[in-house]
Symmetry: C2
Subunit: 413 residues, 2 copies
C-alpha cells in the first residue's frame, strides 16, 4: 500500500507552516511549543522552508538574558493556489497565497446544463483571467482545486453523478482541466471543501462540522484538521437524510429528506405559489430568488419569514443529528444561500443542539456562521491543493502527466 521511501504521516513541514501562519511572526522556540516537535526538527524544517523562500527571518526579539529569538515570518507571495467552486447556479474562483489570504476573487455564472467540455473551457479561461488580473506569475501557482457536488471519485478526478446532465457521469474533470491549463488539478466535494475553507489555512487541527447550502444542502466534517471521508471517500450527505419518516418522497428515494423539505429549490417553489411571487419579482433563478426571499424575511415580510423559519427548523433537526452522530463541538453554517438568512438558521440550530445534543453535558456545542459565506468552498479547494502538496494526509492531484507531488529540498547543512 505504501509508496517507495518512507511514508510521511503528517510531515513537520505542514505543521510548522500552519503554526507560523497562525502566529504571523514567531520564533523557533515558540514553534517548538506550538507543534510539539523538538528544537532540532524545527531548525531543519525552517531551514528547508527558507531555502525555498517560503519563510524568512525578520528580526529578533530581546527579552532578558540569553540569545534573542529570531523571528520568522511567511513570505505570502512565495506561491499561490487556485480554488474554484461551481454548481448549476453559480461559480466562484479565488487565488489564495501562502498566508492563506485571498488575493483575488471573482464569480461567474454556474454550469447550468452546458456540456462538461464547455464548462471546463470556461473555468480554464476564468483561471487565466484571474491570474493575469492578479498579476500572479504562472510559475508560482502550485495547482487548482475544483469543488463541486458529489458523488465523485477524487483519486481518479472524475464525477460519479449524472447531475445536472448525464454527460457529467464519469467525466474526467481533473484531467480535462489540467490538460487545458497545464497545472495540477484536484477535485473535491464542495461541502467538504467549504469545511476546509472555513478553517482556512490557519488554526488547523480543529474539529467541527459545516452545513453547506448553495444549490442544494450538503455538509462536511473536519476532524483534527482532516476532512472526514467515508468508505468511498465521499462526503456527508446531510441533504438526503430523513427528518420525517412519514414525510414526502424525495427523488433520491428516501422520505422526508432535509433538502426536499427545506432546500432552496423547495422554498422558492413554495414562495412562487404565494403573494411573494409578484411582490419580489421571483423567477430569476433558484439562488437569486432564494436570496430575495431571504432578504424579505430579514426585512420583516411575514410570508417570507414563515418560509425561512420553517426551513431553518427542519435543518436544525439535521444539525442535531449531525452533532449526535459525529460528536463534534462546533457547527458552522456556510455557503452562498446563507448570506442573508444565516442568523435565522443559526439560531434555530443552536436551539436544537442546546436541547437535543446528546453530548452537551460533556462539552458545549456551538453553532456559528461563516465569515466567508459565498467563498468558503472555493477557498477550501485552494487550501486543499497546498495541503495535498505538503503531504498532510491528502494526496491525489491530477496533472497533465499524472499524479504529482511537490518536492522541497531536503535539509542543506
Amino acid at each position: 500500500m505504501k509508496s517507495p521511501g518512507s511514508p510521511p504521516a503528517v510531515p513537520a513541514m505542514a505543521a510548522v507552516l500552519d503554526a507560523i501562519r497562525d502566529r504571523v511572526t514567531v520564533s523557533r522556540v515558540e514553534l517548538v511549543g506550538a507543534t510539539g516537535l523538538t528544537a532540532a526538527t524545527i531548525t531543519n524544517t525552517v531551514r528547508r522552508l527558507m531555502s525555498v523562500g517560503y519563510v524568512r527571518e525578520v528580526g529578533t526579539l530581546q527579552s532578558g538574558a540569553g540569545s534573542p529569538r529570531r523571528l520568522i515570518r511567511l513570505e505570502p507571495d512565495a506561491c499561490y493556489t487556485v480554488g474554484i467552486q461551481f454548481d448549476r447556479f453559480t461559480s466562484t474562483a479565488v487565488i489564495v497565497d501562502l498566508a492563506g489570504d485571498v488575493v483575488e476573487r471573482s464569480t461567474m455564472p454556474g454550469a447550468a446544463l452546458r456540456h462538461p467540455d464547455s464548462v471546463v473551457a470556461s473555468l480554464g479561461h476564468h483561471i487565466e483571467e484571474l491570474l493575469s488580473s492578479a498579476a500572479v506569475p504562472r510559475s508560482k501557482v502550485l495547482g487548482v482545486g475544483v469543488t463541486t457536488h458529489g458523488p465523485q471519485d477524487r483519486d481518479a478526478g472524475v464525477l460519479l453523478t449524472s447531475n445536472p446532465s448525464i454527460d457529467w457521469l464519469g467525466y474526467p474533470l481533473a484531467a480535462s482541466l489540467s490538460d487545458l491549463i497545464d497545472l495540477p488539478v484536484l477535485i473535491e466535494n464542495d461541502a467538504t471543501a467549504a469545511a476546509v475553507g472555513e478553517e482556512g489555512l490557519g488554526s488547523s487541527g480543529s474539529s467541527f462540522a459545516t452545513v453547506y447550502m448553495s444549490g442544494g444542502i450538503g455538509s462536511g466534517v473536519v476532524l483534527n484538521g482532516q476532512p472526514y471521508r467515508g468508505a468511498s471517500s465521499n462526503g456527508v450527505e446531510l441533504g438526503h437524510i430523513s427528518v420525517d419518516a412519514f414525510g414526502p418522497r424525495c427523488t433520491c428515494g428516501n422520505t422526508g429528506c432535509i433538502e426536499n423539505l427545506a432546500g432552496p429549490t423547495v422554498i422558492v417553489e413554495k414562495a412562487r405559489n404565494t403573494g411573494l411571487r409578484s411582490r419580489l419579482r421571483l423567477g430569476q433563478g433558484t439562488l437569486v430568488d432564494f436570496k430575495a426571499i431571504g432578504r424579505a424575511a430579514m426585512a420583516g415580510d411575514p410570508d417570507a419569514r414563515a418560509l425561512i423559519e420553517g426551513s431553518a427548523a427542519v435543518l436544525a433537526v439535521g444539525v442535531a443529528t449531525l452533532v449526535n452522530l459525529f460528536d463534534v463541538a462546533r457547527v458552522v453554517f456556510t455557503g452562498d444561500a446563507f448570506t442573508d438568512v444565516g442568523p435565522i438558521y443559526r439560531r434555530h440550530a443552536q436551539d436544537a443542539v442546546d436541547k437535543g445534543a446528546f453530548m452537551r453535558a460533556v462539552h458545549p456545542v456551538r453553532v456559528e456562521q461563516s465569515r466567508q459565506m459565498s467563498d468558503a468552498a472555493a477557498i477550501g479547494g485552494a487550501v486543499l491543493v497546498l495541503r495535498s502538496l505538503l503531504g498532510a494526509g491528502e494526496s491525489a492531484m491530477r496533472t497533465a502527466r499524472g499524479a504529482e507531488r511537490l518536492s522541497l529540498p531536503a535539509a542543506v547543512p
Copy 2:
C-alpha cells in the same frame, strides 16, 4: 504531541499478525502480497513474532523450482485477552486467544443499580473464575477491555455519565478494576466495541457501521479497521437522533428519538399495555421481556409482530441516515436484543437503504446480521486490548501503575 522515540504509525506487526490470522497458514511471500510490505520487512517482523512465540513455522510447501515456501502459523495460546460487556440488564465476559477465537465465555446479571465498587468487584471475581475455568495462566493475559455505555473518557478510563446512577459519573472504572485484578484495563463504548468485535481479529481494514441494541440503541462506525471517534472520542449516538421532528420529546431533550420510538424499553412498555402482558408473562425485566416479544413475533403473534415491525421501520430510517452521513457500504446488526428478531430488522433496514441510500448508485449497501449477536461487544473489548498493545492506532490502557504498552523484542540477528 508525540512520545519519545519514534511513534509507530501502524506498525507492520499488527498488519502481519492480521494477515496470518486471516489465512491460517501462510508463507512469507504471501504475506508480502497481503500486507504490501517488502519481503525484508516480513522476514524481520516474522522473526520478532517467532521470538516471542506468537507464530511458528509448520512445514514447507513445494511448488516447482526454487526454495520452498516455509509455512507460518499462529500459536493461538501464546497470549489471551479478556473482554467484558456490561449494562444495566446483562453482562458478558469472554477470553479471546491470539487467533481471535473465543476460548471461554460466560454471562452474569447486569449492573442494575448497584454501586460501581460492587460492580467492579463482581467483574473482577468473574474474570478470575473465567481464567481458572479456562485454565489460562495469568501470565499469558495481556489485559482486559471493559465495554459499557457512554459517554466516557477513554484516556482517563472514566465514565462521564450519571446513568444508571449518579455514582458512575466520573467513576474511575479502568483504574479500579486494574487495581483489583492487577492487569491492564481499557474502557470502550459498547457499540463501538461491538463494531470492532464484529470484525473480529481477522479481516481487518474493512469499513462498515454497526447498529447495537441491548438495553438501548447505539452504533459504531469502523473505517479501515479503525473505530470512528468524534471530537470527544465518543461513539456514534444513533439512539438519540430524531427521525420524526414532530414526535414525542425524549429525556435527552430531542424529539422523536429513535430509542424513544423503537428501543426495547419503549416496545416492552407498549406490550405491557396489550394482551401480550398476560400471554407472554411479561414483567421479568426489559431485555427478557423484549426477547419474549421477539420470539412471539417470529412465531407469528400479530400483536408482537406489529410492535417489532414498527420498531424495525423506525430503526431502518436511522440506518439510512447513518449510511448517508458516514457513507459506509455495509451495516451490521448486533447486540443481544437482535438475537431472535434480527431478520425482521435486517429486512426493513435493507429496504430502507435500497430505496434511500444516496450512494447506492456508486456502490451497493448491504445490511447484515451479526453471527455473534450477544457477544460482539465483549469480543470487541478483548480485540481492542490486543490492538492497543500492538499499537495499531489505539492506545490508552490503564494499569495499576499507569499507562503501559506491550513491548516485543526488536529484531534479533
